[in-house]
């Protein structure tokens, strides 16, 4: 069992009760007012059958997923990329990266973890779902930005890169 070290810094101004209050207020704002929902598709790395040289699957449909989970997060999507594969030929236009800020407590309540390589689904409109693969799972939250007044971390920033339907189209 891991040792637990009580956080006592900022004790004269800020404590666990204040931390929890701020979280509740934030969660109410995020989940109650904004209500931004995403779907997390976690890859079952144990059951997915891969080859022993490249660790690749035979096809995108042969990846095994855990049941999808809906979660809330603050979503920010970068501008679309209008680029070419090679110097002026074969243009492509696709969504920019998705940046999702999600409360650590929210993930703990859902008993899920977002890991590098998992997939995110975000409904762009009523008829269009965009999928992203996690390229930064934001597990390292040691910086000030992710700490509440320097007390302790309270959210993670997940960055996802757009994937085409041929690579992933939901389950």
């Amino acid at each position: 069992m891991d040792n637990k070290l009580p956080i006592t810094r900022l004790g004269k101004f800020f404590g666990q009760d204040d931390f929890d209050l701020q979280l509740r207020v934030g969660q109410e704002y995020l989940q109650g007012d904004l209500n931004m929902k995403l779907v997390l598709y976690r890859v079952d790395r144990q059951k997915t059958d891969t080859d022993d040289v490249y660790l690749e699957t035979a096809g995108s449909d042969s990846i095994v997923f855990f049941p999808p989970v809906e979660f809330s997060g603050l979503v920010k999507i970068d501008p679309p990329k209008n680029e070419t594969y090679k110097e002026g030929i074969i243009r492509y236009l696709e969504p920019g990266n998705i940046n999702v800020s999600v409360y650590i407590k929210h993930l703990d309540e859902l008993k899920i973890d977002i890991r590098y390589g998992d997939y995110l689904g975000y409904p762009e409109s009523e008829t269009r779902m965009r999928y992203y693969t996690v390229v930064n799972d934001g597990k390292v939250v040691s910086d000030n930005k992710h700490n509440m007044f320097g007390y302790k971390p309270y959210y993670r920033t997940i960055i996802g890169s757009f994937v085409q339907d041929v690579a992933f189209r939901g389950v």
């Binding site: 890859v43 040289v53 660790l55 890991r115």
Partner: protein, 411 residues
């Protein structure tokens, strides 16, 4: 002057047959020996290189073997090895030290000197001849394969560590193993040469405020080649075939048998319904029998023959498709002498069965039986009759009364 040695026979067929041959084939297959080379493609070569590194360059740091990521890293993010690897820390990062193998994605045409010159058109070449046994017929197949395509695959083997001794250990292993400039790895039964192109150092040792570690990369080139089993060709070589021919009823057939050192000739004709005369094309010295469909014909009644001629003439033409056989001894006269100088006689004796034991006493001591027929139907010796002594012949079963028994024998 030496005589050229020529192989007088080809051993196409195995020396063992039956159960022993089946066991031999089973052993050949189960021991991984096939008549063709094993498939060798990019993934086989990659796997071979991973094995080569793992088998030859395992170093020990702090009393523990330095982990080698024995996978080729690809862009499929979720599959990145760190997620499941036992040597990851709580943030999912690989713990130092470790070794990783990176394959350059691009694979160029091979530079192996012996593979520079090729016959165009990608034709297949003879590889082996293999016996087969299909549909009960023994034969052989020729296996052909295309010329293997040479390829160069470049690998980077990176060691990330924090100890100079770890660098020394790996460097010593690699340079000693490659002190003759090349090393070999057996991949699917093929000997694949591997060369060391050089070593580079990317250690951020000048970083004052950042993380510090050693990173050295050994660059290898694998001179591989592609053997694609889907392009193998199997063609039948030699087969022992059973061929049947149906010949029309034309012409004649001639069979010569040896009886008592005498050549007795039988010529068989296929009657067309119109011919009355049948020519054996040689002088008939002694005419023994003339049969139509196995029934002995009577001379001067059914047919006519003039001595020392070659023709048999029927009073009425035999029916169409009838088989006419003429048995005779080719000779210029009726006196026969065997190769030992003995005078032989061909005897023809006729009897009429009048009841009782069907014994027939012939005049001269028999040396060899030519034919015996009852009412024109030939009997087989030891089935239809037996020779009880040199002058007595007994039928196995009594014929009907007044049957005509003809015995022709040599004395």
């Amino acid at each position: 002057m030496s005589v050229n040695k020529k192989k007088k026979s080809l051993t196409l067929y195995p020396s063992k047959i039956g159960l022993q041959r089946r066991e031999e084939i089973l052993n050949m297959l189960t021991q991984g020996q096939t008549a063709l080379p094993q498939n060798l493609m990019h993934d086989d070569l990659d796997r071979g290189f991973l094995d080569y590194i793992k088998q030859n360059y395992q170093i020990v740091s702090d009393g523990k073997p330095v982990p080698i990521i024995e996978r080729i890293m690809t862009i499929q993010r979720w599959g990145e090895y760190t997620q499941n690897w036992q040597f990851s820390d709580s943030d999912g990062n690989i713990e130092i030290p470790f070794m990783a193998i990176i394959r350059n994605p691009e694979v160029n045409y091979g530079t192996h000197p012996v593979q520079h010159y090729n016959v165009p058109q990608n034709q297949s070449w003879y590889f082996s001849t293999v016996q087969n046994f299909e549909n009960g017929v023994m034969g052989a197949d020729v296996y052909q394969i295309p010329q293997p395509t040479p390829i160069d695959i470049k690998f980077d083997v990176a060691l990330v560590c924090t100890k100079f001794r770890d660098l020394n250990a790996l460097n010593g292993l690699i340079l000693q193993n490659l002190n003759n400039m090349q090393s070999y790895q057996v991949v699917n039964g093929h000997y694949i040469p591997i060369y060391l192109d050089g070593v580079t150092d990317s250690s951020p040792i000048n970083t004052i405020e950042g993380r510090r570690f050693y990173l050295q990369t050994y660059k290898f080139t694998m001179n591989g080649y592609l053997v694609d089993s889907t392009r193998f060709v199997k063609t039948p070589a030699i087969n022992r075939a059973l061929l049947f021919f149906e010949t029309p009823n034309e012409g004649s057939q001639k069979v010569v048998n040896q009886v008592a050192n005498l050549e007795i000739t039988t010529v068989t004709f296929n009657a067309d319904g119109t011919d009355k005369t049948f020519n054996v094309n040689e002088n008939i010295g002694i005419l023994i029998t003339v049969k139509v469909n196995g029934l002995t014909q009577e001379q001067n009644t059914d047919y006519f023959f003039i001595g020392n001629t070659s023709k048999i003439s029927f009073s009425d033409a035999p029916l169409e498709r009838s088989i006419v056989s003429v048995t005779y001894i080719k000779n210029k006269n009726t006196t026969l002498i065997d190769p030992f100088g003995n005078i032989l006689l061909v005897n023809k004796e006729y009897f009429v069965y009048s009841g009782g034991t069907p014994n027939f006493n012939i005049v001269n001591p028999i040396k060899a039986m030519i034919t015996l027929d009852v009412n024109g139907l030939e009997e087989t010796e030891n089935i239809g009759y037996t020779i009880t002594d040199t002058t007595t012949i007994q039928l196995t079963s009594p014929p009907v009364l007044n049957s005509k028994v003809a015995i022709i024998y040599i004395s």
